[in-house]
């Protein structure tokens, strides 16, 4: 029963990935012949297994290293911000549960229903030199208010904007799964709200927390729309860098090398996610036994 889906995945994901990696190693035949006939500055294989020349060229280039640094920085900052904000909203909703809490949650989830392109453009105009924020600051007498459009700070704002809804949804449902009885028992035993959060709610939502952190990391690492529209011309995040290499610089091999690097970074995070899931499954199994 599992065979047909496996075949489909192998056909539509596995083969392109393998052929893409072979292309980065300089194998230009077969499925790669079309793209290889168009690209510039390609490095053909010189060993039976290929060559690492394309990797060497990309990984040692200044532009790539700057992109990598800024990608890691933006990812860390965005994940911390998304996680903190998402947790704050979810905890507020769980602890107070009133109309305001529902409104705040709904507001935090709203960006889910707006395409990232529209959101990014809105952010770009809102924080532009003639945008709402600087205009207000100017009216209040602060004439040198910073402009977030076309800066890395603007990219971080955009990342928080697009990734917050997912974090709020996962964390809210994780917190909702904690039985009321546990919270009430803790309160009966004299726990203050802070203690309820630290001792009961947070320990019981470790899996949703890991899911939020890992998925947000992967989403930010591979993002294109927000950094392309809101970000500075240089340094760009890796997503923009690889799209540029493919479309504007006509260097598909270098573009794929960058893609492999993004994939490698994302899989490090993926391992953390899988391990936490396995641990949770084991624990659940030992509890039921």
């Amino acid at each position: 029963m599992v065979l047909p889906p496996l075949l489909v995945v192998a056909l539509f994901v596995g083969i392109p990935v393998v052929s893409g990696v072979l292309y980065t190693l300089g194998h230009f035949g077969g499925l790669n012949s079309v793209i290889a006939s168009i690209g510039l500055h390609q490095h053909p294989a010189d060993h039976w297994w290929g060559t690492l020349a394309a990797y060497r060229e990309v990984l040692t280039s200044d532009t790539f290293l700057r992109s990598l640094t800024v990608t890691v920085e933006v990812t860390l900052a965005s994940v911390v911000a998304v996680f903190a904000l998402g947790l704050a909203v979810a905890l507020y909703a769980r602890m107070s549960g009133g109309r305001t809490a529902r409104l705040v949650t709904a507001l935090a989830v709203t960006p889910l229903f707006l395409p990232a392109v529209i959101g990014s453009y809105a952010i770009l105009t809102f924080y532009a030199g003639d945008g709402a924020l600087t205009t207000m600051a100017h009216a209040l007498g602060w004439s040198s208010a910073p402009r977030l459009s076309y800066t890395t700070w603007g990219v971080i704002v955009g990342q928080v904007w697009t990734n917050l809804p997912f974090a709020v949804l996962v964390l809210t449902s994780g917190l909702a799964a904690v039985p009321d009885a546990l919270i009430e028992a803790a309160r009966d035993a004299g726990a203050r709200p802070a203690q309820v959060v630290l001792r009961v709610l947070l320990p019981m939502t470790s899996v949703p927390a890991v899911i939020t952190a890992t998925f947000t990391t992967i989403a930010v690492l591979g993002s294109f729309t927000v950094p392309y529209l809101v970000g500075p011309t240089a340094p760009t995040m890796l997503g923009v860098q690889l799209a540029n290499a493919f479309q504007s610089f006509n260097q598909p091999q270098q573009s794929l090398v960058t893609a492999v690097v993004v994939f490698a970074l994302a899989s490090v995070v993926g391992v953390a996610y899988v391990r936490s899931n396995v641990r949770e499954t084991r624990r659940a199994a030992s509890v039921t036994r």
Binding site: M1, I38, T63, V117, Y150, P235, S248
Partner: protein, 406 residues
Amino acid sequence: MPIRTLDRSLAASPRPTRLPRSTRPARSAAALLCAAALTMAASACSSSSSSSTSVGGAAAHHLTAYVSGDTNIQKLWEDIVVPAFEKANPGYQVKVVFSAHGTADATTLAKLQAAAKTGRDPGYDLMESSVTLNAATAGLLTKVSAKNVPGLKDVDSALLGPVANSAVPYRGSSVVLAYDATKVKTPPKTYDGLISWIKANPGKFAYNSPASGGSGGSFVETTLDRHLDATTLKTFQDGYDASLESKWDPGFKELKALNKDVYGKGVYPNGNQAVLDLLAKGQIELAPVWSDQYLSGIQNHTLNSGIKFTQISDPTFTGGASYLGILKSSKKQTAALKLADFFLQAEQQDAIVKQLGAYPVIPASELPAATAARFNGVDVGNLRAGYSGQTSSDMNNLWQQKVPGQ
């Protein structure tokens, strides 16, 4: 338009054939696989049958053109030139496959390349898109000259250089210097004048990154060209030689030095339109823009009438043509060449000028006087050629490495 989505190509794929649903799940999964296989087989059949009927008879006069661009290009093809062509040539039919903002350009180019490699019918006879240049340099297009496209005898032969004589230039535009006349009383007249203006008015000039649009690309090219000897420049315009690219270094150094004086201390917006928006909103006062985008901006009132334009000299900004390519592997060469030639007739050129604010590629003297008057003061007959497709790709890459954020 650099943001590409796969939706379009997925939406275009054939719908799977519906098979009666089996009651047992194992069977239905197998049925699904069969359905997928059948669909693939069926689409293979249909494509081979269409290619076999395409030669000879009335079908030889049925052309398919791949066109990409903005809605103004779609209107030009679907509402103006194609109806006129079909009326003037009874029996001919042209099907226009339009891709808005070129979202399908990359996949189409790959498809054409694959069709050429495997010797199959590419499905298109003509193409007009930003990738026509790439198709021409990749050898996918038929060579053209006044012999097979008579209208080319009136067209400046230099325009055929960038495409290796493999595509028909049919409309032109050049980059001009747009300025906010309410603030800039005496706009610069020369390149040197422009540079000293930028330095004297920090933050009031912008150009888009060359990878994101030709108007910024033209400013970059113009700066680089000032340091090149005539032979190198010719190589960059007509061909490709990566070993000569170190000659760009002095130009890139100059551009890097401008970082602190351009808009936002080194912000290079994405796309031609983004620069026009800054100009329209009064954020900047001077910028290189495409002539046709400027003219249609004035027509649609997205630019107010206080925005004027001028051409600089010594050197001028580059300009170029948009090209119409005839696919080498198309089996309807005669009909396709006929359509390409039709675009060069005076009435069509007149319509192109009126509809798009583009330059004609035939001498202005052949057009109605009112049309020619639109270019009062602008030399449309002499477009300074830009770099070839491959050279521009490298220039974009090196600019990105050497100029912004440095």
